[in-house]
Symmetry: C3
Subunit: 213 residues, 3 copies
């Protein structure tokens, strides 16, 4: 498309509020996850897990809204594939948060391990940074702030890797019950993958920065 | 490409019979899976698993045929990437069906759980709907029929999620043997993922509908 | 872009040395993995696993270099998405090699199974073929040599499938300890997936051959 055409046609700005809704919802679900694994009362925990499931549905709807908007919009503020990837990546984080929470319920895991709390804390922090970064996408004036948020998310992922590895090693050292190992290993893997998916979001944001600045 | 050029150049129609072959093969392998998990005779079951493996190879060949056609064809009836994705997505479903069947053989699982049958039934039904939808892609006259098929596949995936979660919860409640848990959990996960992959096919079809109607 | 413009603008050749660095590093890490699983001395093995981890970081840096180059380069020797996919696919193989090695350390697996050695041998051989193929991408004169390398990698993947299936069947037949099963199954799965990822690299190379010959 020529530069002239690009100036004449209004850029579709409706994607920004949708992405802010998606990342706001991600932050909310991440806070809930963190609070849930810190909660000692099993009944309260179960209620929080159901709330997490609800927010996952909310997230699904926002993702579909973005995809529908994308189908009907000719001019997008960023490359179409980046919009698609950003929405999918945000959706993936939410799915893994919900998946971790659901497993705690399905497996009837009563003891919340320290490693669950540490990983959930990192997920919450990454969600906070991503939410901040996404609100900066509108004007792309604070590129440095955006970059810092992405670096933060990447370093959280590295920390999560370490926590995951140590907790898996401890689990196999200390736990004799194979069924307990299956359960805890599954939950740790889902939590660690959530931090990987946060990094994926940060990487899409990185791509958008490079292309649009 | 200009509208004129699009009219002058013949659209390549050879993709339709190839996709119909692929989805026909998917339906056939899905029926076999369903019959296999319903079969009580272990020897007959093993024979059916080998047939499933054979059909997986047939599917592989169809997928390669589509990819080769795509490399040699300049004008395609749909966007190149959608053709690629549709072929890959169909291939993925077949792979997961074959993977589930093979695990039953490798793990020497003798007891066919009710949840296996329920999930295989949903996979068969989704394969039936996808096969129907793909035969409608040729003319795109029955958009509503196409959409209904996709909705059906999505709702099957939600049902499969529920069956999966309940059966995993039951498995950990009732089974004391960790090795049996490892085996059954693996097979359930593969079957459930097959329904996810059916939904991926439906989503590609959805994208094709939007772009071409 | 017009043919004239394509001739006037110099094609960016800096990608070739970067890809050769990436595939050279892959071959090195694959040789280390093979030597490590053949090593009887646990202390030496641990040292080698740390070396593998180091090479994984080296690989990460090369991948980022390719991505950065891609962002700043207007004319690329191959399609942008193929460069991106080739770099990601090479990175994935390295990740799975590192992942397998790390699990051996985390799980404190002392006994190196014959199947580990067989799979690591196939991974090394595939890495060798991929490294050879990638050095041929520069001029694309030896298309047949390139094709042969890709076929070799595909047949290695089929062999790996068989080894994986037999070793999983044996594991469940012979091992009574569920925790040992969890550990060995995980490592075998990671090793087998490394050969799948090698096949993915071969497939990207196949796509590049078709588009550029």
């Amino acid at each position: 498309m020529s530069k002239l055409l690009q100036i004449l046609l209004p850029q579709e700005k409706k994607f920004f509020p949708l992405f802010e809704k998606a990342s706001g919802n991600l932050y909310e679900i991440a806070c809930l996850l963190h609070n849930m694994v810190k909660e000692d009362d099993v009944t309260k925990r179960e209620k929080m897990i159901l709330e997490i499931e609800n927010l996952e549905h909310v997230g699904d709807n926002i993702t579909h809204e973005i995809f529908n908007e994308l189908k009907m919009t000719f001019i997008t503020p960023f490359d179409r594939e980046d919009i698609h990837e950003l929405a999918s990546a945000l959706d993936d984080v939410v799915d893994f948060i919900n998946g971790s929470a659901k497993r705690i319920l399905l497996y009837k895991v009563d003891k919340m391990y320290i490693s669950f709390i540490k990983l959930a804390e990192l997920i919450e922090n990454s969600a906070f940074e991503l939410n901040k970064a996404i609100s900066e996408l509108r004007n792309l004036k604070n590129i440095n702030k955006l970059r810092e948020a992405c670096i933060h998310v990447n370093s959280n992922e590295n920390l999560a890797d370490e926590i995951f590895e140590n907790s898996i090693a401890n689990l196999f050292n200390e736990e004799q019950n194979a069924i307990e190992i299956i359960k805890i290993k599954d939950i740790l893997t889902l939590l660690e993958t959530a931090t990987d998916r946060c990094e994926d979001v940060a990487n899409v944001i990185g791509t958008i920065i490079v292309k649009n600045s």
